[in-house]
């Protein structure tokens, strides 16, 4: 019985993954079109931005021709799309090197930062969420509630700036800028990213903890929990065995949202700590009107979001027997 249900669960998940994969491709296509159109509406183009204030019309025209910007917009889009389909994201107009190389340097930084933040944030958020749900209405719950609300309310640039003032300028414990370079040891790297990770955690922990608490409490009011409690099951076991399998879907969903934020939304943290990540690269690409680079970044963020959402949905299906059999 259990075997059969898990098999049908797997096949349901596989169908879902298949369908999602197809719709993801469509989403990516639509997103790339939207970004392309919006970027066309921005004043100036890559040639004008590269030459800056001191550009003469002849220089702009020459550079435009060199960059291929003198072709009509739809032709440029189609040729970019063609390149993407064959796995070539094109040439960065500003850096004069393949987009792949530019991203290759930044993507690991972003992934590492997001992974570290997730490794810290997820256990902490789960503990806070479950802890306050178990003490619902109690002092710990109220205290945690106030703390998480405050964390949600405080903007990250403030958290980051205050952390820098305290830990680097005054105490001089941690570096104020996160210099990620390949010749760094792990210890040095971790010291460098301690504050960026901390700042990112402050934001996502609060969101995840509140979602966890809500999801757990939602289940606690159900009759089956009451039954388990009346049976005399220990509280921790009630939470882990009975409640969590049912509450996991919304929790994973909240986590997936937070994690996708860690990747693409880290631009403020990247700016303040001067961390060479993907989000600031994308902002860079927007201001320099570097379309191939901008598109590539957008595709990565969009794909990461879609993958995380897919993982959340698959988890929900596998965790819920009713969805499994559907």
């Amino acid at each position: 019985m259990a075997g059969a249900s898990s098999r049908s669960g797997m096949s349901a998940a596989l169908t879902l993954i298949g369908k999602r994969f197809a719709s993801s491709l469509l989403t990516l296509l639509l997103v790339s079109m939207t970004i392309f159109v919006i970027a066309q509406l921005l004043p100036g183009d890559a040639a004008q931005e590269a030459l800056g204030q001191s550009a003469t019309p002849e220089q702009v025209a020459a550079l435009r021709h060199e960059m291929g910007l003198d072709r009509p917009a739809h032709v440029r889009y189609v040729s970019w799309l063609g390149g993407m389909l064959t796995g070539d994201p094109g040439q960065s107009m500003v850096a004069n090197m393949p987009v792949g190389e530019v991203i290759e340097e930044r993507l690991p930084n972003s992934l590492l930062l997001a992974a570290l933040a997730a490794m810290v944030a997820i256990p902490v958020a789960l503990s806070i969420g479950i802890g306050s749900a178990m003490n619902r209405g109690g002092r710990i719950d109220r205290a945690l509630n106030v703390v998480t609300l405050a964390m949600v309310a405080v903007p990250e640039f403030l958290v980051a700036t205050i952390a820098v003032l305290i830990f680097s300028v005054n105490l001089r414990w941690l570096p104020s800028i996160a210099l990620a370079s390949s010749d760094m040891g792990w210890g040095e790297y971790l010291r460098g990213v301690a504050m960026p990770v901390l700042t990112l955690c402050v934001i996502v922990i609060a969101q995840m903890a509140r979602m966890t608490r809500a999801a757990v409490i939602d289940q606690m009011d159900r009759p089956y929990v009451e039954m388990a409690v009346l049976k005399g099951v220990a509280p921790v076991r009630v939470i882990l065995r009975h409640i969590m399998p049912n509450a996991i879907a919304p929790i994973v969903n909240a986590m997936a949202l937070s994690l996708s934020y860690l990747l693409g939304g880290a631009v403020i943290v990247e700016t303040i700590f001067n961390y060479p990540g993907l989000a600031s690269l994308m902002v860079n690409a927007v201001t320099s009107r570097d379309m191939p680079l901008l598109q590539a970044c957008a595709m990565i963020f969009c794909a990461a979001y879609l993958i995380l959402m897919l993982i959340a949905d698959v988890t929900a299906i596998l965790a819920n027997p009713r969805l499994r059999s559907q």
Binding site: G44, G52, V94, A95, S168, P175, S176, N274, P276, S288
Partner: protein
């Protein structure tokens, strides 16, 4: 030493007009007892980082590029603290008619790859600026090179299209950094400069190691410089204060207090020719009306702009682009000041009372939004109704600059008066911002360029300053000082008015006393 460092005393010095020879404003170390010593690693932080960072001197576009290029490349000449060109790779530069120039190179100078510098390298380096494919920022200036050839292994002959006494100063711009003939790969640098390029990652960092074979004996002093960029100003200042970097470029006047409060750090203020100017297009109405232009020029409260917008870190300007410390500055030209009565009179003559006029300002032109607001406030007192249109910095230069009857421009310091006037004030210049046309000015410009007699030159440039001040549709209220900050253990710093961090040349001159 701290007394000398307080902003008040330094401002006092500048105000007193002692700025000639910005070197008089020596902040600290150069005058203290510290002697140059070898060794030390520092980290320097500039303000711009992008994938457009380059090691090709011809393409240098911003302060970080200039700093990087001065580390790796030497030039034929270099501007000293009084903006006078001094000989570098050139041993002699001579001309009798300012058209035909003979340059003799120093002997025994080697590139980082071991090759010896020859006249061929210089010829090739200078000529590549004329090739459109190079994408040189100096393409326009290089147009005056009619012919360049090597006459021997050490001698270069340059013939210009017209007389230009400023050639030695022109060659001091970092874009003319001397490359080895045929260089086409700029993933690393091969120059004759004080540092070797150990690593270059665009938008991330540049690692420079001491060149043991540098041609100036004993120099440079530092063993290693890591150049990074921290675009966010607050982060940059924090990185300095926390000791993560040892020198930073471009400190906001608002942050100067924080650096003063630190016992471990110094500010270095460089009076410069950088300015934000109001443009009144002469080919449009009503801004083309001379009375309107005069009214606006009397409407600027320059001391207020200096005090409130730049916290005193500015020099009052006189509606022309030559700053007071410049060798050709004309000191006897009366300073224009706020005069509401004169402004009102001119406005009446222009017949514009009560009209509503838009004025375009943007954070792209530093301080312009606040300047526009100040102007609006004073304008309302004489019945001039100005509407401030604040537009985004992004795309400002291509979409708004010079395209409205009234808007702001922002101009970096140029090494010579000729470049400033030729690029921005000549009638047919591409960036003649206000579109003014003054035949007398154009004649003087050509005459001054070919004049070798310094006194005569100064007089010619003086008259041009007067013409711009009185008739040009551009108003320049103040020159903006450049503010850098550095760790006190970094010694040997002094300002060079061409840019921050000693005119971007600090790498070669400073030493570490730690």
């Amino acid at each position: 030493m701290t007394d000398i460092l307080s902003p008040y005393s330094r401002r006092g010095l500048i105000g007193a007009g002692l700025g000639v020879g910005a070197g008089l404003l020596l902040p600290d170390s150069a005058m203290s007892a510290s002697r140059p010593r070898r060794g030390g690693r520092i980290r320097a932080a500039g303000m711009t980082a992008s994938t457009a960072d380059t090691l090709d001197p011809a393409k240098g576009a911003n302060s970080s590029d200039y700093i990087r290029h001065y580390m790796f490349y030497s030039l034929l000449t270099q501007l000293d603290r009084n903006l006078i060109p001094q000989l570098e790779l050139a041993e002699r530069i001579e001309s009798s008619d300012q058209i035909n120039w003979h340059i003799r190179l120093r002997k025994g100078i080697t590139f980082h790859d071991g090759a010896t510098l020859t006249a061929q390298d210089v010829v090739w380096t200078l000529m590549r600026h004329k090739n459109p494919a190079t994408g040189s920022k100096m393409a326009q200036i290089a147009e005056q090179f009619a012919q360049i050839r090597a006459t021997s292994k050490q001698d270069v002959f340059i013939r210009l299209t017209g007389p230009n006494a400023d050639l030695p100063a022109i060659l001091a711009q970092t874009h003319f950094g001397i490359l080895r003939e045929g260089t086409s790969d700029f993933r690393t640098a091969n120059g004759t400069g004080p540092f070797l390029c150990a690593q270059f990652r665009p938008g991330v960092r540049t690692l420079a190691r001491r060149n043991p074979n540098f041609w100036k004996p004993g120099k440079p002093y530092l063993y290693e410089i890591e150049l990074i960029s921290i675009p966010d100003e607050t982060s940059r200042v924090n990185a300095l204060l926390s000791g993560d970097v040892h020198i930073i470029l471009a400190v906001n006047p608002r942050s100067s207090k924080r650096i003063h409060a630190s016992p471990r750090h110094n500010l270095m203020v460089t009076p410069s020719g950088l300015h934000t100017n109001l443009i009144m297009r002469q080919d449009r109405l009503p801004t083309g009306n001379p009375h309107f232009v005069a009214a606006i020029k009397y409407l600027f409260d320059r001391p207020l702009i200096k005090r409130a917008l730049f916290r005193g870190y500015a020099t009052i300007a006189n509606d022309h682009p030559i700053p007071p410390f410049h060798p050709y500055y004309r000191a006897d030209l009366p300073q224009r000041a706020l005069d509401l009565d004169k402004a009102r009179w001119h406005l009446q003559r222009a017949g514009l009372k009560g009209t509503r006029l838009p004025i375009y300002a943007s954070p792209a032109a530093e301080g312009s939004v606040d300047m526009a607001s100040v102007l609006q406030e004073y304008g309302s007192r004489i019945g001039l109704n100005l509407a401030v249109n604040r537009v985004p910095a992004d795309g400002y230069w291509s979409t708004h600059w010079m395209k409205h009857p009234m808007g702001f421009g922002n101009t970096n310091p140029r090494p010579t008066a000729d470049l400033m006037f030729s690029l921005f004030y000549k009638s047919d210049a591409a960036w003649n911002e206000s579109g003014w046309k003054n035949p007398r000015f154009d004649r003087l410009l050509v005459e001054a360029r070919g004049e070798a007699n310094q006194a005569k030159r100064k007089q010619l440039y003086g008259e041009m300053q007067e013409l711009v001040r009185d008739y040009c549709g551009v108003s320049i209220p103040v020159f903006i000082n450049l503010i850098d900050a550095h760790d006190r253990r970094l010694k040997g710093m002094y300002p060079i008015a061409i840019g921050g961090m000693m005119g971007y040349q600090f790498a070669e001159h400073v030493w570490w006393e730690g």
